[in-house]
Amino acid sequence: MDDFDAPACIERVQCGDEAAARELFREFHPLVLRLVRSHLPRRTSEEDLCQAVFVKIFARLSQYSGQVPLSHWVSRITINTCLNELRAEKVRPELRMSDLSEAQAQVLENLTTASGDLAASESLASRELVELLLQKLDPDDRLVIHLLHLEERSVQEVATLTGWNRTMVKVKAFRARAKLRKHLATLREEEPL
C-alpha cells in the first residue's frame, strides 16, 4: 500500500483508465475481503458481497473528497454495505448447547468453573462461541461488539467507520453487551452440570 498514489489513481479511474481501476481493485481487495469476512451475513457469499462493495466504491468515487484516507472511506462503504445486508437478514438463528462443538462447550464450562483468563489454546473456540452468540444480536449490536471487542478498535475508530458519534457508539456497545450477557446466561442455564 506504500507505493499506491490514491489521488492519481482516482483521477485516472475517472478518466476511464482500466489499468487504474484494476490497480484500485487490487489495492483494496484485501481490506474489503477482511471486513466482509468479519461481518458476513449467514446467507450471503463473500464474493457477492465484495462485488457489491466494489460496485459502490466505483460508483461513488467522484464523491470522495480526499479529507480522509481512501482506506477509511473504503472501509466505511464496506461496513455500511455489510450492515445493510445484515439488516435484510430477518431471521436470527436459535442457539442451543447441542449446536456447540466440544471445544466451545468446554469454553463455556471453563468460564463457570475456572477464574482468570481462559487458556490461549481456547481462544479460537472462544471466538467461534462469541460469533455464534453475535448472530443472536441485531446488526448494529453485532457490528459494535465485533469492532470494539473482537477487532479491538477504539471508540473513535468505530465512530469513524460507522458514522455514529462517540456517545452513540458507547451507548450501543453498552446495550449490545447487556444483550450478549443475557444470551450467554441463557446458554449457560442449559449447560448440563
Binding site: Q51, F54, V107, E122, R127, V130, I145, H149
Partner: protein, 101 residues
C-alpha cells in the same frame, strides 16, 4: 456474569482463524471491472429521462386520479341530461298535438 462475558470477549479477541486465501479471484475482478465499464458506457440521463418523462407520468397520474374522484359527479350529470331530454320530448309532443290540424 459480567466477568464471564469480559473473559470470553478477551479470549475471543486473541483467537484468529488460520489465514484463508486472500488472492484476488480473477472472476471477481473481471465482474467488477465489467460493471465499472458498463456504468461508464451507459449514457447520462437526458432531459427527457430526467424531467419530461417523470412530468408526463405525473400529469397522467393526476388525470386518472381526478377522473376517478369525479366519476360520481359525471354519472349524475349524465342522468340529469337524460331527464332533460325526456322533458323536452314531452314538450315537443305537446306542441305537435296542439298545432296539429
Amino acid at each position: 456474569m459480567n466477568d464471564h462475558l469480559e473473559r470470553l470477549l478477551r479470549s475471543a479477541a486473541n483467537g484468529t482463524r488460520p489465514d484463508r486465501e486472500t488472492e484476488v479471484p480473477f472472476a471477481l475482478e473481471t465482474r467488477v471491472l465489467a460493471s465499472w465499464r458498463a456504468s461508464r458506457n451507459s449514457p447520462a440521463l437526458s432531459l427527457w429521462d430526467s424531467v419530461y418523462r417523470p412530468a408526463l407520468l405525473l400529469a397522467g397520474g393526476i388525470m386518472i386520479a381526478s377522473l376517478a374522484l369525479n366519476i360520481g359527479t359525471l354519472t349524475h350529470y349524465r342522468d340529469q341530461l337524460t331527464q332533460n331530454d325526456t322533458e323536452l320530448s314531452v314538450a315537443d309532443s305537446a306542441l305537435h298535438l296542439a298545432l296539429a290540424p
